[in-house]
């Protein structure tokens, strides 16, 4: 089958939530949806486009295929994992327009949160946690689980990485990092079922120079940077793009600063929370850059990082925030429902760049600003 696809390089048309895009053959539904962007894109907790073989496990990206292809327009009976299903020409996919999908996804969110500790207030991942976002966007407000949560001991799986197995959602991303970035994997999944856990056979065995990327790919706070633990909340820190000449990696990073102090170094993330690519290669960074270069003088500062507007980190009002793409009008086939989608659309407050004011904002600023913009 793979051979047949290679012979026909013509782009395939796929319709996702009433929006049609053209994608090259071999593209997955999820990546086609990412081309559209906005709410139409299914969430992905385990899929990571830069890690080969990842995906299919968390089941949050389930979508309904209403028509398999133009040649065979039968619907697929089950919901499919969009991250691992490739598109066919003329495929019709329903994501946010399908009640079945919404219900199944709420179910998956509930399952993922079932044994997940509610320790966000002390978790270093809070504020940039994909599970938080997922729970907020697709979950229910309460849990129906009335039993004790499953717990594990905290474990140092390497000199610089600490594992909180309680928080892990078993996305397997870190094992793919170890397989594909480091010379050999020394950690993996032990046990099975609900007692499956990530660990090493020899304690503190993870010391490969690229092992720190496991922290970046972890969607939750299970793998944490020991040099940053409990130093600060991410939304109080200032993300700044910087680079250095590194013999081992691309050297392009985000510094998370407080004042001039560099609290944390991470790889640069794209809008899907994945490591950015440079010239088609993922910009993984080495442990030297990540854990040892913690002085601003080690780096050439490029400027503030673009922060996604829906991120809590954007509350610091940094420059150049990205506004999420709005797709509702297209999804509703041209109708423009009067929905209160975003408080910032109707509020004047948002039009003011607080960071550009010389001092504290007063009501005068807002009045001036609103008259100016009109």
């Amino acid at each position: 089958m793979a051979d047949e696809i290679k012979k026909t390089p013509a782009p395939l048309k796929v319709t996702i939530d009433n929006i049609t895009v053209e994608v090259p053959a071999g593209t997955t539904i999820l990546n086609a949806a990412r081309q559209i962007g906005g709410d139409v894109t299914p969430p992905a907790m385990c899929y990571y486009s830069k890690l080969e073989g990842s995906g299919g496990k968390c089941r949050t990206c389930l979508v309904e295929v209403a028509a398999g292809s133009a040649a065979d327009p039968r619907p697929m009976p089950k919901l499919v994992a969009s991250c691992r299903t490739t598109v066919m020409d003329g495929m019709v996919v329903k994501n946010i327009t399908s009640e079945r999908v919404q219900e199944a996804r709420a179910g998956v969110v509930e399952f993922l949160l079932l044994n997940h500790p509610l320790d966000c207030p002390v978790c270093d991942q809070a504020g940039e946690c994909h599970l938080q976002d997922l729970g907020y966007e697709h979950g229910k407000e309460g849990t129906r689980y009335q039993f004790d949560r499953r717990t594990f001991e905290k474990e140092d799986i390497g000199p610089t990485i600490q594992l909180h197995m309680n928080r892990c959602i078993l996305c397997y991303r870190c094992t793919y990092v170890a397989d594909q970035l480091t010379d050999n994997r020394v950690h993996g999944i032990l046990d099975r079922g609900d007692h499956a856990n990530i660990s090493t056979h020899i304690s503190k065995a993870i010391d490969n120079n690229f092992s720190g990327n496991m922290i970046d790919v972890c969607p939750v706070g299970a793998l944490t940077d020991k040099t940053f633990r409990f130093k600060n909340r991410v939304w109080f820190t200032k993300p700044v793009d910087a680079h250095r000449d590194c013999p081992d990696c691309c050297g392009k990073v985000t510094l998370w600063q407080r004042g001039d102090e560099v609290l944390r170094v991470t790889a640069r993330k794209d809008e899907w929370g994945e490591v950015q690519s440079y010239e088609g290669k993922p910009g993984w960074i080495c442990n030297t850059c990540r854990f040892e270069k913690k002085a601003a003088t080690d780096w050439v500062i490029e400027g503030p990082t673009t922060v996604n507007r829906h991120s809590v980190i954007s509350q610091g009002h940094y420059l150049g925030m990205q506004k999420p793409k709005e797709t509702i009008q297209e999804v509703m086939s041209g109708l423009n429902p009067r929905l209160l989608m975003d408080i910032h659309d109707v509020s004047e407050v948002n039009k003011l760049e607080l960071s550009q004011l010389p001092g504290a904002a007063t009501s005068a600023n807002f009045k001036n600003e609103s008259t100016k913009s009109e």
């Binding site: 496990k57 089950k78 079922g193 609900d194």
Partner: protein, 451 residues
């Protein structure tokens, strides 16, 4: 007395040894296939026979074989799934233990049809002694020229290897089995690609149940069309049923799919009725993961017809009032059994056997087990029953492999048919600790359907 094809010679003394097996007409099918038929003709015979997979899903074997990709220069594999771990199912064990050569014979013919020069038997870890039996049988076959290079001068090479699992139900799922066979953690793969395209070591692979492959022997010996005459409709041939539970004569029976469920349970030729004069309450007709049926729906379908022991009749009424043939693990429960307790036991099994790869199964199976334990021990609430229903619905169909479905179906069916018993456990928590709900109305004749 129904016709026997597989177990016909099972009682012959020392049939396990090659000499006796050969004297009883063994390996005739290999001679016939390799000398007179081409590989495609063998596949054609299987298609004509209407043989359906005996592992549980009942997928037509001939069709499965025809899906096998055949790129040049790439080896193809036949893998026999002997990881028989479904609670209540022990037919393959009987077959492999007593007539191992039947499996080997079927495997040689199948390997010839599929072009597999190296075929594997993946056997569950707990069947340690059967591994030895099979290896001995393979060695005997090799010594007599049925395995190895250029079998019977046909130019076809074939070798069979036995691989023991390490005790995981999930490794009976075909892609998890392949992962385990490759020496990896037995996690099911995400499909597509299907094993027929990318299976063992990335090569096209067919995974079949032991009984399916053994059925090749009578199919080739008698011809596909003759085989298809046995049975009814699309349920052709004979099926091994491993009967257990509250019956007088538990064991493995070969049926030709034309007998009724009632006859199977109560006739002396088969299960021999229920001991101590107790009444039939419920039955799981096809291994633990298929829906449980109360006595009244088991013996007669919702339409009032007699339910027969075959694929179609057992599935009559869908999941609303029917069940499945499954793997043939026939579990009978009398009126002293508690369905809540029983459902809890199954939920515990599935929680323990979930691989933990995908979230609905990993988290949902444990959750269901805990709720069922509460219900069983008198700590349940009536809302728990609805919650269970909702959980199973969110697991079913949303997982990577069918284990999620297998865990959800028994719970769903138990609530669907035995809701009264669950509610009684909630409303009479103390009484439920002392006695069982009993037969109640579960054997009462059903009301005639409203036209």
């Amino acid at each position: 007395m129904g016709r026997k094809l597989l177990l016909e010679k099972a009682q012959v003394e020392n049939i396990r040894s090659y000499e006796v097996y050969r004297k009883q007409g063994g390996y005739r099918s290999v001679e016939k296939a390799l000398k007179t038929l081409s590989p495609d003709q063998v596949t054609e015979e299987v298609k004509k026979s209407g043989l359906r997979g005996r592992g549980g899903a009942g997928f037509p074997t001939g069709m499965k074989w025809s899906f096998l990709a055949k790129p040049t220069g790439v080896p193809r594999y036949l893998v026999v799934n002997a990881d028989e771990s479904e609670p209540g199912t022990f037919k393959d064990r009987y077959l492999m233990e007593f007539i191992p050569h039947l499996l080997i014979e079927g495997m040689i013919t199948s390997s010839y049809a599929l072009g597999s020069n190296r075929s594997y038997i993946y056997i569950r870890g707990e069947y340690a002694w059967i591994t030895h039996i099979l290896e001995q049988a393979i060695e005997e076959a090799r010594q007599h020229g049925w395995l190895g290079k250029n079998i019977l001068g046909s130019g076809f090479d074939c070798d069979i290897y036995v691989q023991r699992g390490a005790g995981a139900y999930i490794c009976g799922e075909e892609t998890a089995l392949l992962e385990s066979l490759e020496g990896k953690r037995g996690n099911p793969r995400i499909k597509p690609p299907f094993p027929a395209v990318k299976g063992l070591w990335g090569c096209p692979t067919v995974v079949n149940n032991v009984e399916t492959i053994a059925a090749l022997v009578p199919i080739i010996n008698e011809g596909g069309e003759e085989y298809a005459k046995i049975g009814v409709g699309k349920s052709t041939g004979t099926k091994l049923i491993s009967a257990c539970g509250n019956i007088n004569k538990p064991g493995v029976y070969e049926i030709d799919m034309t007998i009724s469920v009632e006859e199977f349970i109560f006739s002396d030729e088969y299960c021999g009725g229920i001991p101590q004069g107790k009444k039939l309450k419920a039955c799981i007709p096809g291994g633990s993961s298929v829906p449980i049926l109360p006595a009244n729906l088991l013996l007669k379908t919702a339409k009032g017809e007699t339910r027969m022991m075959n694929y179609e009749s057992l599935a009559d009424g869908g999941f609303a009032s029917g069940s499945m043939m499954g793997s043939g693990g026939f579990i009978v429960m009398d009126d002293s059994q508690c369905v809540v307790r029983h459902t809890y036991t199954l939920a515990r099994f599935y929680r323990h056997e979930s691989c933990g790869q995908c979230s609905p199964c990993r988290e949902g199976t444990g959750w269901m087990e805990k709720i069922l334990w509460n219900l069983e021990t008198g700590k349940g609430r009536s809302s728990d029953i609805d919650l269970l229903w909702d959980i199973q619905r969110k697991i079913e169909g949303n997982t990577i492999c069918p284990l999620g479905d297998a865990a959800a179906w028994p719970v769903a069916a138990a609530i669907r048919h035995f809701r009264d018993e669950f509610e009684w456990h909630v409303t009479h928590p103390e009484e439920a600790q002392k006695r069982n709900y009993g037969l109640a109305h579960y054997a009462d004749p059903l009301l005639a359907p409203v036209a």
